[in-house]
């Protein structure tokens, strides 16, 4: 029982004992705000694709883009 505990303790202390830098560095791909910007960008693209999808639906004589760009 003592040996596994000793290994567990050593494992937990390995990083500080070996002098590794434990401070968090700025890594863009793990940045939550970059990730949420990525979700926003994907959502905006989905809306644009939704527009194209509805524009491609059946209309009697006119395209949706012509309809909504009518002045």
């Amino acid at each position: 029982m003592r040996v596994p505990l000793l290994f567990l303790l050593l494992f937990c202390m390995a990083t500080p004992l070996l002098g590794a830098d434990t401070t968090r560095r700025y890594v863009p791909q793990y940045d939550e705000s970059v990730r949420s910007d990525c979700v926003r960008a994907a959502t905006s693209n989905a809306v644009r694709n939704l527009y194209d999808e509805s524009a491609a639906s059946n209309w009697p004589t006119i395209s949706l883009s012509a309809l909504i760009s009518a002045r």
């Binding site: 705000s33 693209n45 059946n58 006119i62």
Partner: protein
Amino acid sequence: MKLEDDFLKTLQSAEQVGDPRWVKSTCQVQLEIPATRVSYALRQFADANPKKSPLTGLEIDRAARNWPQPVFGATGSAAGSGADIRPRADRVGSRWASVPADIRQRALDDAAADAAHRVMASVKDIPLGDKKTVGNAFADPQISSRVRNWITSRPMSRVDFQDNLDVEIALWPPSRASFRRLPRDITEP
């Protein structure tokens, strides 16, 4: 343009299907909107602008009844740093098909670096006070390098692999939250 904006606003009210999906640093979002909501928005426009609209509300109703699906759905994606971005499957016959993955990645990195260069050039004259400008701050290689990294880490919202082997990208502008973090991100080691 006004109606197009209004119509896009209607589409922005589409429901998200499930959570965003992450595939190798690429985010995918799926949206759905009932066809009735789309036709309602268009009918409102037609009814409010009978002289401008090329279709009457009745014609829009009739057309909407023939739509094969009760909902419109679409997926959008954006790529974060480290995403494996390839030309679309329907463009495999293009000249990009024979370009090795590492060269393609370098082209994307160069495009992002070029975008960062343009952004930095466009803000260099902004005064920072004390007769200093943003350009003066960029003269410090450490600051300019961090700002460049910060810009190139923005998500790519559009990638266009052109037939002449140019690649054009659009970087998603930072949200307020990301922008507020900028000073910390570029000053912390």
